[in-house]
Amino acid sequence: MNRKIILVGLNHRTAGVEVREKFALTDLEHVEKGLLAHCPLQECMALSTCNRVEIVAVTRNVPEREAMDAVIQYWAGVCKGPADLLWENTYRYADLEAVEHLFTVACSLDSMVMGEPQILGQLKDAYRSAVDEGSAKTIINRLLHKSFSVAKRVRTETAIASSAVSISYAAVELAKKIFGNLSGTKAMLVGAGEMAELAATHLLHSGVQSIIIANRTLSRAKELAANLGGEPIQIESMPDRLPDVDIVISSTGSPVAVIKAKDVKQVLKRRKNKPMFFIDIAVPRDIDPDVNQLDNVYLYDIDDLKEVVEENMAQRQEEAGKARAVVGAETVIFSNWLKSLELQPTIVDLVDRGEEIALRELGKTLKKIGQVDEKTRNALETLVLSVAHKTLHEPICFLKRRTQEEGSAERFIDLARRMFNLDDETVPSTAHMDRKTTACSPEDIEQFIDASKNKEQ
């Protein structure tokens, strides 16, 4: 077969922001239609995010270099930029390298923040749009489905996405380690800085019940309270309200400590030692470091949070090795499927499957009827194998006819492989959201056959 998978793309590593801006694809549907119309491609799908553009395609009967040239020419044309510049800033992969790269992207191993979950969603959106436009067919369909399952496997089997890699998210994760479920907890923002606002937003999304915003300027506190849905107070009232809150995020511009250890000690007494979590993201620091010496009080300043983030990043890098091994193994599995899209191996697999079923059923029957002589056994074996072969004659003839037609070979071979489950795949129960669940055990199928035959009679 002469079709090849190719992938042309650029990302934050190969191209600067100006180049990425220049060659970002905004109207993906139009681009995909155009690629199929102007380039020697059978299938294609494009993905465009702020950090990357990827075009994955299946070529017609042309050399891969020619197809890649055509894609870049068309892409440069759409973006009204020089093709040479685009060529310089892109990476180009063919066959298994292209497959492996796409899996790497789906698993977020190639992302700026490794392990971030957004890329998988963006890839799913791009695929959905390609399916709607009809530019994703047999191979792209299978490739993308596989990349989603590889990404899922990587997330379950490795800790690539298990720890926070942003300051505000790290603060939320730490709060969960102390309080567990955050619903029912109360937070206070001391000072209304941008970073504190971000951390507060994360906390609210994680279930924090309510938030108090204490600021020197009440109008700014009110403004922020309106955004976050909190209660604005003057910073002078802050000490009186401290016993009511479990989490305190401080980011004032004060040159001296706003919250002192001896005050917190009193607060703890009033709270009957209920734990408190202080996040100090101000420089110079707002909270007396001695606060951390008190029992049931946890204080993290900006450097501590940065260290947590760095440690988590290092852990993700370690996990990346495991994830790459998964990607490598899955690429080999995909390449096996790709090879099976030829007629010859599919016929062999079909016949093997038929013979296997026939011999298995013969074995069951022989067990029931007891010992038979060698001659009878051979005759029965010939009978069941011949039934298996004869049953496959028509499907094989059909496949041979269809694969002689331009562009339909993969579709029918893939269909046959799926119908006879030649790749031993299990369909997850959630694979088709809007489809009724049907039982497919051998007994169910037997019942279904009987019921259908009875209806017919």
Binding site: A159, S163, K272, N273, Q315
Partner: protein, 270 residues
């Protein structure tokens, strides 16, 4: 090999397998292994229940002067573990519960349990008040010990900010560990009080056994005072977190010493 022996070997095998897999799973961070180990423990627990039921059905008098109190303790520790797992999702406590259940079950076979001479008239009442309450207290304190050690370990990590990445998402929060301590204090202390003071009442109603102070009674009373202090600080002064965790560990240690002392003393009795 009789039914009992086979059952005992099966229970030991299941508890041992559960313990081994849980420790390996915790060491390697393998969640699946940990989950499988809990299933093994659950199977062992079911057989342990069956074993206890069979002993009781076979001989009702087994409760008085019997040799299976360690066996009941093993059962009780796991019963409380499964209760906490159900209420707080604290799978993590298996790290203490499984090895201790195994140890107690093996000890019940090796040592033959603690022989307790019962007053003939009030056997059932005495059993419920004394043995039942104390066995439950041991179970509760085992959980508090596990939760206390875990609390101190993770509290230190959060305070010093060292090695936080090893504190994965599946590690329960400090609040959950503290909740176990709170339950251990609120339910364990009244139970221990009941268990301990019912002995003294027994001495009052059994005229042929005059009360006399000995090392065992002194240790038991010292543990009670420590437990009472923990109960007071926790309920009245609102202690939480590190201090009650440390105290619970000490109370558990005292209980273990007292229990061992009981085992040795009663074995030595004619």
């Amino acid at each position: 090999m009789g039914l009992f022996e086979t059952l005992h070997i099966l229970i030991i095998a299941l508890y041992a397998l559960g313990t081994l897999l849980f420790l390996t799973g915790s060491g390697t961070g393998n969640n699946r292994l940990r989950r499988v180990s809990v299933w093994f423990a659950a199977a062992g627990f079911a057989l342990n229940t069956l074993d206890l039921a069979m002993v009781l059905l076979d001989d009702r008098a087994a409760l008085s002067g019997s040799a299976f109190y360690f066996n009941i303790m093993a059962w009780c520790v796991l019963a409380l573990y499964f209760f906490l797992w159900w209420r707080l999702r604290l799978e993590f406590l298996a790290i203490t519960a499984l090895p201790l259940a195994l140890l107690l079950f093996v000890a019940s076979l090796a040592l033959g349990g603690i022989r307790v001479v019962m007053p003939p008239v009030l056997t059932s009442l005495f059993f419920v008040l004394h043995i039942g309450a104390l066995v439950l207290t041991i179970g509760v304190l085992t959980m508090a010990f596990g939760a206390g050690v875990a609390f101190l370990y993770y509290n230190r990590k959060l305070k010093t900010k060292a090695g936080l990445s090893s504190m994965g998402r599946d590690v329960p929060s400090l609040d959950k560990f503290d909740t176990v301590n709170r339950w251990a204090v609120l339910f364990g202390f009244p139970l221990y009080t009941l268990g301990l003071f019912s002995t003294y009442i027994w001495y009052l109603i059994a005229p042929d056994r005059p009360f006399a102070w000995d090392a065992m009674k002194v240790v038991s009373l010292a543990v009670w005072f420590l437990y009472a202090f923990l109960f007071h600080q926790r309920t009245v002064l609102g202690w939480r977190g590190r201090k009650p965790a440390v105290l619970a560990i000490w109370v558990f240690a005292g209980m273990c010493i007292s229990l061992l002392h009981h085992a040795v003393t009663f074995r030595a009795m004619p």
